[in-house]
């Protein structure tokens, strides 16, 4: 019996090892004596092919780069299982929240030493806000920001013309936006404005722009190390205007299925869409028949925008940190200059590669996209898009419990105070 159990245990262990070995793995010596640096992205097949092509230009006699093919659809699940199995590749695409959470738990290689050194690839050569948001409280940086997401309003120029409304431009106000949405709705659009960012879990952070722009308090004092959230009078005023917009049918309500909003916009069925610059790459490929533009987010007094950087992380157990850093710096600088001309998804955080993005937009005639992205990068007031903390899901549940009902008018605006109070309890209990 003992022997049988032993054999069964061996089989199970072997099976487990085989299963985990198939998932990825960090750098090691390949058969030819070269160090293999593994890489995993969440990009589409088309962008991955461009990355592969660009990586072919990386020449180092001691390093081989191998990209692990993974469907972008289940990237989060794949990352979670590789993290649990401690089989993360040397370099993997990561969000700001993942980077901060994993760095806080000692799971990522801290590059702060290398980034503070000399040379062309240091912290000074990145967009300052991106680097600031990627640092943990104790100054560690478990990854390097790669692309910056900027946000704005996509608009259908013809729909605006038909409704007799001027197209959005820098400096337009929240009142202008709701008034335009109302006119577009009355002109026949199901909703004048589809803004998932104002109704989903991240919505209080988006509405934070209203209060910040009007001189009020931000919703959260920080997304990385928050001590409190606030819904002051200006914030409440902003939410009130949104509630009125939803009530009149000008703005899509909570629960609106925004999964195909991009297609509906391209088909001329959504005249105004709150989203990010990344839609431009898809529009260049799909070529919508409508005339479209991209305007900065509205303001009250001062320009305010959302800020969010994605990046590339490295697990703490990478076998050859130096080789990995070499590939990382090549990816973040040179690769983007080769990929973005064909697929201008976002502006690089590494300032030296930003021209490639803006040149690509200019070449494609996307002048409004270029000017809005530039305006966003220069905006004096910014807000993170969501909490990046480990307890973010607990505060999300509090937002889910109150926000949709407040927007639908099922709960009074005064419940914003109850919501913030409960989120503050979550913050307190986790600090």
């Amino acid at each position: 019996m003992k022997r049988t159990l032993h054999a069964a245990g061996s089989v199970l262990m072997a099976g487990g090892l085989l299963a985990t070995a198939a998932c990825g793995g960090s750098s090691g010596k390949a058969s030819g004596g070269k160090t293999t640096v593994t890489l995993m992205t969440w990009e589409s097949n088309a962008t991955n092919q461009l990355i592969d092509k660009a990586l072919a230009g990386f020449h180092d006699p001691d390093i081989t780069v191998k990209r692990i093919d993974t469907p972008n659809g289940n990237y989060g699940d794949k990352l979670a299982s590789l993290t649990q199995a401690k089989k993360l590749p040397d370099l993997f695409w990561c969000g700001n929240d993942t980077e901060l959470q994993y760095t806080g738990q000692g799971l990522l290689t801290d590059w702060s030493g290398k980034l503070s050194g000399s040379g062309g690839f240091t912290a000074d050569s990145f967009s300052p806000t991106a680097i600031k948001n990627w640092k943990t409280a104790d100054g560690k940086i478990g990854g390097v920001p790669s692309l910056l997401n900027t946000y704005g309003i996509w608009y259908d120029s013809d729909a605006f013309k038909a409704a007799g409304v001027p197209v959005p431009a820098a400096g337009w106000t929240w009142d202008d936006m709701y008034a335009a949405a109302d006119k577009l709705h009355k002109k026949g659009a199901k909703y004048g404005l589809v803004a998932d960012a104002l109704t989903n879990l991240d919505a209080p952070f988006s509405l934070s722009l209203y209060s910040q722009s009007a001189g009020g308090a931000p919703f959260a004092d920080s997304v990385n190390q928050p001590t409190k959230v606030t819904a002051d009078a200006t914030f409440t005023e902003g939410v009130g205007k949104l509630v009125a917009g939803i009530k009149s049918g000008a703005v899509a309500p909570p629960g609106y299925d925004a999964s195909n909003a991009q297609s509906l916009f391209a088909a001329g069925q959504v005249p105004m869409l709150w989203s990010g610059q990344w839609l431009a790459a898809g529009f260049l490929t799909d070529k919508p028949k409508i005339k479209y533009g991209f305007a900065p987010l509205p303001q009250v007094d001062k320009a305010a925008t959302l800020y969010d950087a994605v990046g590339i992380c490295t697990p703490s157990y990478t076998k050859n940190a130096d080789a990995t850093y070499k590939v990382l710096s090549y990816l973040d600088s040179t690769v983007w200059t080769k990929v973005l001309p064909d697929s201008p998804v976002a502006v690089p955080a590494y300032t030296g590669a930003q021209d490639a993005y803006f040149n690509a937009l200019g070449k494609a005639g996307l002048t409004t996209v270029a000017s809005t992205v530039k305006a966003d990068l220069d905006a004096p007031l910014t807000s993170g898009v969501r909490f990046t903390t480990q307890w973010a899901s607990q505060s999300n549940d509090q937002i889910t419990a109150y926000w949709p009902d407040i927007l639908k008018g099922n709960k009074p605006l005064s419940d914003l105070q109850t919501m913030t109070g409960k989120i503050n309890d979550v913050i307190k209990s986790n600090n």
Partner: protein
């Protein structure tokens, strides 16, 4: 002192029952070849059961008392996870509500529709085999594919369901995007696979002796009397089995709300965040969210206890309405 009935009738008291025959004693530790063979054949199943059921069960019981994200060492927190679940987590009670609503809608509907379809398919009419095949077909199709198709059907802006309603000049629905219509929409999708229920009922119906029907007809019983006085009582044990199966299916529903909810998290709001999805959301978070295995394990145990209680209650009360040949 009053006399017992036996004394009153001058009968001798009942003799004591015969003691049970004693088993011949075997030598301790000695196994017959048959027993050894039995253990050998059982071993793979026992190993599998221990490794994949007993061990995870014990681990999850332990994790339910800890704060554990799967990456760092678990921290023992006692009953904090259960306290959070019942007091401060705003999603727990809505999850319970969504689960119960799904159970209340799905279980009776699946039983009634399954039975009606089985009765129809039990008739000797032309083309009935084709009908049976068509009803059973969704059961063999890939679940995720069919659910995804339903997502397109229920899209409130461009979906087929609202298009059809518009053509018929009927009011459209928000379907999965509406807080009150989301669970009923999910139930419709689940009922799409009612063929599995139908097939079991069909087998039960075909096992009812035809002589009983013949006798009933000779006695002048109508179809309704035959159904309620003969068919239903005779298939009632299968009905109990179906109730239990459908209850477990409904309580463990995961695929439909996961795929169909607009945000994949059980929205809008918490309207489709059934308990299984809540467990998944906490245990296997999306990008950028750290796992809460401890809290998810606590929820697993609550769901487990709910299932045990519901099934025990069903089994306990089923004897009231189940027909049995052995009933005295």
């Amino acid at each position: 002192m009053t006399a017992t009935p036996d004394q009153q009738l001058h009968r001798p008291p009942h003799p004591p029952p015969h003691p049970p025959p004693r088993r011949p004693r075997r030598g301790r530790g000695k196994l017959t070849s048959d027993t050894r063979a039995a253990y050998m054949f059982m071993t793979p199943a026992l190993v599998g059961f221990t490794v994949f059921v007993v061990y995870p069960l014990i681990r999850s019981a332990y994790f339910s008392l800890t704060q554990y994200n799967g990456l760092t060492t678990p921290t023992f927190v006692g009953l904090d996870n259960f306290r959070r679940m019942f007091t401060t987590d705003p999603s727990f009670w809505p999850s319970v509500r969504a689960t119960l609503l799904l159970v209340v809608l799905y279980v009776p509907l699946s039983l009634v529709i399954g039975l009606l379809l089985a009765v129809f398919c039990n008739r000797r009419i032309r083309g009935v085999r084709m009908v049976r095949t068509l009803i059973y077909l969704p059961v063999v199709l890939p679940v995720v594919a069919t659910i995804t198709l339903w997502k397109f059907v229920f899209n409130p802006q461009v979906g087929l369901a609202n298009q059809v309603l518009s053509w018929l000049h009927l009011p459209t629905s928000e379907w999965l995007s509406g807080s009150s219509s989301a669970i009923p929409s999910i139930v419709i999708v689940m009922l799409w696979s009612v063929g599995s229920t139908m097939i079991i009922f069909l087998a039960a119906l075909q096992a009812v002796p035809t002589e009983l029907y013949d006798a009933a007809r000779i006695d002048g019983a109508g179809p309704r009397t035959v159904f309620f006085r003969i068919t239903l009582p005779l298939i009632s044990p299968i009905m109990v089995l179906q109730v239990v199966l459908q209850l477990v299916t409904a309580l463990q529903t995961f695929n439909q709300p996961k795929i169909l909810s607009p945000d994949g998290q059980g929205g809008p709001g918490f309207s489709t965040r059934v308990l299984m999805l809540s467990i998944y959301n906490h245990g296997f978070p999306t990008l950028g969210r750290v796992a809460e295995f401890g809290y998810a394990s606590a929820q697993v145990w609550v769901l487990f206890l709910v299932i045990v209680v519901v099934i025990a209650a069903t089994a306990r009360f089923s004897s009231i309405w189940t027909y049995s040949d052995h009933a005295s």
